[in-house]
Structure formats: structure tokens, C-alpha cells
Amino acid sequence: MKFSEFIVKEAVEPDLKATNRDAVLAELVNKLADAGALPRTAVEEVVAALIKREKNGSTGFGKGVAVPHVKHPKIKKMVGTLGRSVRGIDFAALDHQSVYIAVLLLSPENQPQQHLQAMNIIFTSLQKDTFRRFLRQSATNDDIIELLDEADQGK
């Protein structure tokens, strides 16, 4: 599994406008809809499902990153995007630190293996200090995509 197989490039946001968790989730899901990766009619339900998931247990796993994700019947093909916040967002993270990078993953309900593989690639990269640092320094969409491409190439 590679980032390029599910990250929708046009939906990547290097400068999130939202300043709180729920608004970040809405912003990222709307970016996916804008890019045509998700039907506009599914946006509201998917955002609600993501918020419910966060309330169940934060996906802010620490070190300034969060991986909000949900499996939903309205999602036919796994898609993801990434948002960067300069000022940081309160995600109720496990380590109580602000979140600067949110990787959003939307999966169909019936493909758990694919979902786990995507989570695997996301966390393998996010565990690396340099990857997180470079992501936080990436001020443009192109910079972020380049970083993800390098991760895909095993650099």
C-alpha cells in the first residue's frame, strides 16, 4: 500500500482554516468532496460519523498528529487526505498536545484489510521524527505531495 493509492492530492490542505477539531474534520471532508472524491450528499453524514468516532476515543495518538478515520456505507472507495495546521488544534490527544497534522482516512465498510494496510503506511511514516518535522515545515500542497511520494519510494 502506498499513500498515492488513497491520498487525493487536490484535497490536501497545507493551511487549515479551521481552529477546532470538528471544524477540521468538516474542512477536510469538504476538500474531498470538492475534489470529486466523495459525493457532496455524503459530506454531512461522514463528518457526523467522524465526530462520533473521535468522541469514542481520540485519534490524536500523540506527537502532534491525528488520524481521524471512519468506515461508512456511503464510501465506495477508500480515500484520504491530509491537513496541516500552523497554529495547532485541540484534538483531545492522548498526550494532551496540540495537533498540527491530521491524516483523514475514509473507508468502505467491507474492506478491513485495505483499511489496516492504509493505517499501516500512515503510522509507519508518522512514527518517523523526520517525516513529522518535514510535514510541519511543508507550506504548500506540492511540498506535502512530494514528501508523501518520497515515503512511497521508501526514501
Binding site: 485519534t59 498526550d95 484489510q113 489496516l116 499501516n120 503510522f123
Partner: protein, 118 residues
């Protein structure tokens, strides 16, 4: 037992200070389990596992015994998710420390319960 902060729940042994020497007798225990729930070891089960592992003083390690071989710190959510253990994956849970046997028994029980999924 030292109270554990939530930060320790989130991250691996790498971030933690080396354990101070204790005079408790060390022991090792291990058990093989099969992932039974259809969704596999996704984020929520991974967190349940880590929360439970953190209740024990023992160090906990989890190895995949089928597919690609990967090892995770059983007290790191991120590492547990990286195992990408799908339904049917065989895992070996190993604990080192004074409460190793209890840790392995409880953790194996959690995996075998299917984490309350499905």
C-alpha cells in the same frame, strides 16, 4: 505500581526512561493468539490492548507469526496499528517482568474475545 500518564499510553518504550533496577524477580511469559474479529486489529482494539498492557509493569511485545513478520511494543498504539493484523493473523504476545504471566493471560483473553467487535 507507578501511576502511568496518558502520554505513556500513546508512545513506545523509546520515549521512556530506562526502567530503574527493581529487585522483583523477572519472568517471561508468552502466548500465541489468533485475531478473531472481522475488522482485525484496527485503531480501537489497538488502543484497548495498549490500555490493558499499561496496567502491568511488565514490558509487553507483540510479534506477528503469519504474513510479514513485524514486532510491536505492546504499549505503543502506533506500533500496534502498524502490525496491520487482519482476521486470522497469529500473534505472539510476550511479557517480561514480575507480572508477566498475568499480563499475557489478560491480553490474550482480550484478543480472543474479539475486542467486542462485530
Amino acid at each position: 505500581m507507578m501511576p502511568r500518564t496518558r502520554q505513556q499510553t500513546a508512545f513506545s518504550a523509546r520515549d521512556r526512561r530506562p526502567p530503574t533496577a527493581d529487585c522483583e524477580r523477572m519472568s517471561t511469559a508468552s502466548r500465541d493468539v489468533i485475531i478473531r474479529n472481522k475488522l482485525g486489529l484496527h485503531a480501537r482494539p489497538a488502543m484497548q490492548f495498549v490500555d490493558l498492557a499499561n496496567r502491568f509493569q511488565s514490558q509487553v511485545r507483540v510479534d506477528t507469526c503469519s504474513g510479514e513478520r513485524v514486532q510491536a511494543d505492546g504499549k505503543s498504539v502506533m506500533q500496534m496499528i502498524i502490525l496491520a493484523a487482519i482476521e486470522g493473523t497469529k500473534l505472539r504476545i510476550t511479557a517480561d517482568g514480575g507480572d508477566a504471566q498475568a499480563a499475557v493471560d489478560m491480553l490474550a483473553g482480550l484478543v480472543e474475545s474479539g475486542f467486542g467487535d462485530d
